[in-house]
């Protein structure tokens, strides 16, 4: 064998190894909360009494009678710092064992399940929806919609997410959940006309997520059965409280209907905080968390009605500018690496990797007025410099 000039075989092997993309190792943790969380509440309650009072004054001060639905109405808060529960409180009749409705936090779970389906080879990001739910799609132009478009709220479907003060007859969401669509939500969504070419614009849409859960159901049910979200995710994380309601066809309503306890919701946050690894093993595809928490291309290019806090990746809310649209951070008092699953009436699972912090809030805010920025600022003060 002729040696390459000036290069030993050993050096050559090393150079080839360097040419490969570096494999991301799973983070090392001393414990994983599959059964339950380690508890450090008592010591933190003493050490951080002032900061906890400020957090509680903001989140747990009720106004008026319950039926008046005034002010902020927090049902539960759990702070997980460095893998331990450091603060936890419930209100308004909720307790540690009670599930809470997630509303649109469900969307981030559907996003995670897409990653798990990709890892199994059951779907690919560039699959047409018609490869999986083609039998339900009568508007054939809609076959141009891919899994990636759904993850990015970029289906292009002519969908009306909201309607306050407008006619109920024009609300796509009402029709899907409670009207003509509730029996078969996937078909209902899939047969809306296109407003834009798929992939070219962004519009927050529960329809896109429901269609995504339909694609996942079709792709995963044959091998895993109807409880595929449990097999792939909830059983892995030990989310024993998970309930996910279905439409009339038995497909989980990926946009809206997941219920779990705050402690179990925090496990999902911990899963993402640890790069999609659990108990030291990689569960989500390598790079999935990073890809999910990057501002997506369609929201940069053509967003419809970009709200002040709209900065999104794959069905996660990001604390990032939207290049070309808005330079400010959605939560200016919070580190820029923060991201969150969010749901109506004040639900959130916030993940702040640089602080090793997860903040879960369940609530029933009907009057609006909740500031995630203020709430996270107060939560950060509770854990600042904690060992």
């Amino acid at each position: 064998m002729r040696r390459l000039r000036g290069m030993s075989p050993l050096f050559l092997a090393g150079a080839l190894a360097l040419a490969q993309p570096a494999r991301a190792e799973c983070p090392t943790r001393s414990t994983w909360p599959t059964e339950d969380w380690p508890d450090a509440k008592a010591e933190v309650a003493v050490a951080r009494a002032t900061q906890i009072k400020a957090l509680e004054d903001y989140a747990f001060t009720l106004e008026g009678r319950d039926e008046e639905r005034k002010g902020l109405r927090t049902d539960g808060v759990v702070l997980i710092h460095k893998g331990r529960v450091v603060y936890e409180r419930y209100g308004r009749g909720f307790d540690v064992g009670k599930r809470h409705l997630s509303w649109s936090m469900s969307k981030s779970f559907t996003s995670a399940l897409t990653g798990l389906a990709v890892k199994r080879g059951a779907v690919s990001l560039d699959d047409s929806i018609c490869e999986h739910v083609g039998g339900k799609v009568k508007v054939r132009d809609n076959c141009a919609i891919t899994v990636r478009h759904l993850l990015e709220f970029a289906s292009g479907l002519d969908w009306k997410e909201s309607y306050e003060g407008e006619s109920n007859q024009s609300s796509s969401v009402l029709a899907m959940l409670y009207g003509e669509g509730h029996e078969d939500m996937v078909s209902f969504v899939a047969n809306h006309p296109l407003r834009d070419a798929p992939g070219t614009s962004w519009d927050y849409s529960s329809g896109d997520t429901v269609l995504l859960s339909g694609v996942l159901d079709a792709a995963l049910r044959p091998s895993l059965g109807r409880d595929w979200p449990w097999v792939l995710l909830f059983e892995v994380l030990g989310m024993k409280s998970a309930t996910w309601e279905r439409d009339g066809q038995g497909v989980v309503v990926g946009s809206s209907y997941l219920y779990a306890t705050p402690r179990d919701l925090a496990k999902f946050g911990f899963f993402y905080l640890n790069d999609g690894c659990w108990a030291g093993e990689r569960v989500l595809p390598e790079g999935w968390v990073a890809d999910s928490t990057r501002v997506s291309e369609p929201i940069r290019r053509k967003p419809y009605n970009l709200g002040r806090e709209d900065s999104q990746g794959w069905q996660w809310w990001l604390n990032r500018p939207v290049p070309g649209q808005r330079e400010s951070l959605p939560w200016p008092n919070v580190p820029e690496d923060a991201y969150a699953a969010r749901g109506h009436w004040g639900q959130s699972i916030s993940i702040i990797p640089s602080k090793d912090l997860i903040v879960v809030r369940t609530a029933d805010d009907r009057a609006g007025g909740f500031s995630l920025d203020t709430f996270l600022k107060l939560a950060l003060a509770v854990v600042e410099d904690l060992p």
């Binding site: 109920n168 279905r246 009907r366």
Partner: protein
């Protein structure tokens, strides 16, 4: 509070943000009483049997306008039947711990 506004509030539940609409959509085969009886039946059922809150709490949690005329809970069958204006009524039933409630 107008009926449309009240239903808008409850329906915003599916999304985080409200008031985003901009284009005119096709009308759906919805009416306010159908929507409110469906919403109340499903979410009352979920409140009682999934979230395991009290009937009193669930009545306040699902309050919408127009208010449904009756809400009847069957604890043995674990179902919730709603009715409004004679013609409109919906039933939701609890299926299982994992599946929660579904409209019939």
């Amino acid at each position: 509070m107008s009926a449309s506004r009240a239903l808008g509030v409850l329906a915003c539940a599916a999304a985080l943000s409200c008031g985003r609409g901009d284009t005119v959509q096709r009308p759906y085969d919805n009416n306010d009483l159908q929507l409110v009886t469906s919403y109340t039946a499903k979410d009352f059922c979920s409140c009682l049997f999934v979230m395991q809150m009290s009937e009193d709490y669930c009545r306040r949690w699902t309050a919408a306008s127009p208010a449904v005329a009756t809400v009847r809970v069957d604890y043995k069958e674990r179902s919730v039947q709603t009715a409004a204006a004679l013609l409109w009524g919906e039933k939701a039933r609890f299926v299982s711990e994992r599946d929660g409630c579904v409209l019939e």
